[in-house]
Symmetry: D2
Subunit: 392 residues, 4 copies
């Protein structure tokens, strides 16, 4: 199956199997929708499309970042696209980490069940008491004792903790390290460990959610895991995080493009079908035309920027692509918000209802300008990199 075939099949799958689940699937709980999603996952496996982003030796399709970016846009047309193909955050990122940094035992215990879709996982990084933009500025700590890490700390926005089998926890293991970037480690923590306090699923934009669709607040109180649960070595947490973020952002941004295209489509359909007086439609209004033109230009621009970054990651690696990755983060998050907002406005009152997916996007994707580093952090970081080259 060549890449064009893969794309055609996945596009068909999303259109025929996933989009028709709406609006039902947008309005029921995780427990209600899970059986249906598992059914779809089985179909994906049957059609040989499972794990598009994973190397072939691990049972995936072995796509490049550029290629998986295209897939991510296609899947992004449904909020459950990535889930059904087992390339959803945060599991996909955790798979990458385990593939690159996991020991044989770690892979046995955590990676393979994850690849099979038998378990879910989560990634515990963000903390309520520390500004999220700085991966070495955090309060969760682990000290070593008798061959174990003893973990204490407070995390939130741990997406999918509810129902996950294990968490990869970012924390400080070497508070005195001379290099700040050597302070943190990433440690595998089974979620059923003693000392993990589940505080709540955080209500976000009016919904608490559960399962994969939830963001938990948790406390670690003397949680004990063996030292062998560290990923890639003690003090390597920041390095792993850096590696993980680049490709992840490509796929996130391309998922946003999927959302943009679907919103654009809805906007245009509405424009030509909504009748005004005098046998005109909204499509005849110049303001609507302006929104469509600007959206088209911005979506195209955003996608080209992402593809450019993806090519660079594929050819030169994520480190050399830092500037491009920052650019797509803030540029694309803004395009996403603008396109969804315009599509709602063109729909009028209908755009506020849950009769279309737009109001869901509006609530759900406001987070895009905040997670993975707030836009403002990326802008400053990009500018400082650029300005460094101008200093003598």
């Amino acid at each position: 199956m060549n890449f064009d075939d893969i794309k055609i099949r996945i596009k068909a799958f999303v259109k025929e199997e996933l989009v028709p689940l709406e609006p039902w699937i947008l309005n029921c709980s995780w427990d209600e929708k899970l059986p249906k999603l598992n059914e779809k996952r089985q179909k994906v496996k049957d059609r040989g499309l499972w794990l598009p982003q994973i190397p072939k030796e691990y049972g995936g399709l072995g796509l490049s970042n550029t290629q998986h970016g295209e897939i991510s846009e296609i899947l992004g047309a449904s909020p459950y696209g990535h889930y059904c193909f087992n390339c959803q955050a945060p599991d996909a990122g955790n798979m990458e980490i385990l593939i690159e940094f996991g020991t044989k035992d770690q892979k046995e215990a955590y990676l393979y069940p994850l690849l099979a879709g038998d378990i879910r996982s989560c990634f515990a990084m963000t903390e309520p008491d520390f500004a999220g933009s700085n991966p070495v500025n955090m309060g969760t700590m682990a000290f070593k004792k008798d061959g174990n890490y003893i973990i204490n700390g407070h995390k939130w926005f741990t997406t999918g903790f509810d129902g996950a089998t294990f968490a990869i926890v970012m924390l400080v293991t070497n508070p005195e390290a001379s290099e700040p970037h050597k302070k943190a480690s990433q440690i595998i923590v089974p979620t059923n460990n003693t000392g993990i306090d589940f505080i709540r699923n955080i209500p976000v934009m009016g919904h608490t959610g559960n399962g994969w669709e939830s963001h938990s607040e948790i406390k670690f109180q003397n949680v004990k895991v063996p030292l062998t649960n560290v990923l890639g070595g003690d003090g390597e947490g920041f390095t792993i995080a850096q590696k993980r973020l680049g490709p992840g952002r490509i796929h996130h941004c391309m998922r946003w493009m999927g959302i943009c295209e679907r919103s654009f489509d809805l906007m245009c359909q509405r424009a030509v079908s909504r009748e005004l007086a005098h046998s005109k439609t909204l499509a005849d209004k110049q303001t609507v035309q302006n929104w469509i033109a600007e959206s088209r230009a911005e979506i195209n621009a955003a996608r080209l920027l992402i593809q450019d970054a993806a090519h660079k990651i594929d050819s030169q690696g994520a480190y050399k692509t830092r500037k491009e990755i920052s650019i797509i983060k803030f540029y694309c998050a803004n395009v996403l918000q603008k396109v969804v907002d315009r599509a709602i406005q063109v729909h009028g009152a209908l755009g506020l209802t849950d009769d279309t997916i737009l109001a869901f996007y509006y609530r759900q994707e406001r987070a895009a300008r905040i997670y993975d580093g707030a836009d403002e952090v990326h802008m400053s970081s990009l500018a400082r990199q650029i300005l460094k080259e101008y200093r003598i």
Copy 2:
């Protein structure tokens, strides 16, 4: 009690009695919160603050539009402020109509119970199949037969229909009228009439709601009401609507100012309290400073525009203030959205949660750019009025 006293007391009431109900009140159903709200309403009556917007002869405080605008900003700090003082939409607008256009019998049956807070009402105007901006372009019709109107049609976004005792329905009674503005009438329809099909409370931004906090879709199938139920005379529907909109918009816009000020407050509190590295806070970030400065300028500008319009309505009437009313509609709705958006961004992940009221505002107030005439409609209408003066 002079006006300054009234303001001080209402401000205190909102701060002490209403804001502390959050976040509980934002996350429970109408039925759960109603007993608590009724308790608060009784306190408002006891303190002599009931019905601030209503003339004294009808038992209110008799405030001018300018004054009630100030009250509306104060009440706007809580989503339940207006409700507790019985000046909430859509009932307040219906009271105005009944006071100005109601017959003695209509007042007996509908106005006095409404003023007392014993019943609720709704206003059925928007239709799913007709662009909402045009009050003479609608599908709901009534023909006259044997001393009755026989009504057929389809309405939605009828706010508070669920639990209301009566609706004021905007519909066409004279489709052949030579003047288009004489086609429509406003008719009182008891909600328990035969032939009213309640289709659903429309799910809006992820919530269906009920009671006062819902927007219904309803159908009228041969609904029969006596001709005496018409308000202000057959064919007067548009004229009444025009009268109603001006002052209503002042109060809406000033309610938005209450939301803006509360969001601004939260933004500033967050800025000074959120610590970053190196003993800095978000308040030290120039981007945050820019947002605060722009928000302050825009909120002040918006309020001055509203006050200017309110003075003009009070002195020259709503008709001569049409331009100013259009201006505040679109200008203030945009300020509202920008200020809430910035406040969320300053809060980071916390801003997405329901731990602050900001995410509620974000979802709830997206409607501001759409209802009461979409911004784009007001902009065009304003420009056409202006340009008329430039034509020879």
Copy 3:
């Protein structure tokens, strides 16, 4: 003559005597236009309208800041309005300083000829090597010796130096003052003093200009003036500057409103007169309507903000109005730029030509976002004042 009369007469004067001088007056040198302007000045005197901003005891009309704001808007419709009424920058500011801080001798020598319109003056503050936003951060210095100040330094953007009789120079006389705000003084320096090097009139936006319409770069090399030339006392430079800026900004901002209204007018006239195909005009285009609506809203908002600040200065003084003054600086400068830009766009190619005044405004008024403190400085300063109130 009451204030309404004054306004009517000034409005008529601008319309009948000044606007018709265009486009000739926009395209000739200062020397060519001066005789004509002097003629107009004489007419202003003859009609009893001279010096509207100056207290009656000094021969002016004695208007308040609020009132002179209104005048400034009217005069702003012509680039030469303020000049003809002798309330132009920088002379008007210098008059204010001399009235409030000048000694009897200083008034004799400098104020009265200035009020009479017999001489011009300038204000030397900005320096090329120091960021302009900070009035205590500058390189021009004076030391005292034998009853004289000996001045050395480098200034630029000294508006109207070319042809001025004297300069008020802002400089450091007390570099070691414990309070930074006590370092600077303002000193009167006759422009024909030995040691003043006129370097050039700076070419700005393609024009070098001369006379009142120029911005000079000058060097002071051991320039000697008697100690009695200091204004308000040694070390009072910053205090005087603060006093001067508040009212000055009101008048600047209201002048911008004059420019906005004239541009708005041109935009609307063009919209209704420019024919497109199918017997439509630009006025039928919704984009043009949007620009007109937004411009109207923004101009109204800007004017209300300025009037609000003017009232506060008149009632509470400039110091307590610092926040409002910062707001109008950046808010109004942006409105100005947007309105002029939209008016040009509506004019198409014609808007780029010097056949209308718009291209002149476009070039000339880009400075508004920079002078008197760049917008960004005012935004940060405003935000810091606001945030101070939120710190415990």
Copy 4:
């Protein structure tokens, strides 16, 4: 010489030979600068870089649209880059037309001297009395008589008419054609013909200019040229115009990228070198960082959009690339204006002077949003093309 060599050499030429001519060359008349420019043109020929955009059989370098786009960005760093390489508007467009549509005689008389740089030409299309966006809506007409066209009409913004040897004039020859797009023709008119009234070089943004740097207003009064002067056949004017616009827009837009990059460069240099208090520079200000980050993102996006359009023209032709060409027109013109504006703001007062090239760009490039079809025209046109696909 391969393409990389060409780029390196041209980049060096611009940097070493052209940029150092500033600011002198920005502040003198066409006649003064022409000898110097001719000297540079000779060097370009000597180095084998002449006519990069022209097929090899006509003596050029034979670059594709994609390649010449890259060259155009490089040349855009100097306002005289394109002129020195003989690929400047409007001559380059006229060369294209003559190559594709010119007869042998037309080529002999007009194309070869143009390619040699011996003469200049102009393109007369825009009319003061007709909205420029519509190439079939114009007032200039030609009727046929005795083997001649007799031309009457009024044109303006005919760039470079002053000193040109011939004009290609767009006009109506078939007012009654059933298809509107068959009404117009393009006709070669020698500028020394009887009946051509030169009215003026239009003063634009404060400068009248002359020679290549001027925009003329002209009238045709019974101007007679032989029928053989028509290009591509009578009624083909619109078709030729369409062909001409696509590639021309690529090169225009890439020229803008050259301007953007130069402005960006100046902005960054200023940011790192301008000292503020406390050993900070403007580079430490987050607002400046935001501008740099946004500019980088937008310039990159703009360039990718242009390259995308260029590839499509090269592979599928200009007609199929209409949407992409409209996108780059309005998107890039806006990026251009924003980047130049930010660069000026970072320079403060210096940015207003002619000491840097920024104020020149600010004035000169405001036209970008207007010429070649105002942005608003392209937005509507793009939207209509898109929406057509959504209609059933």
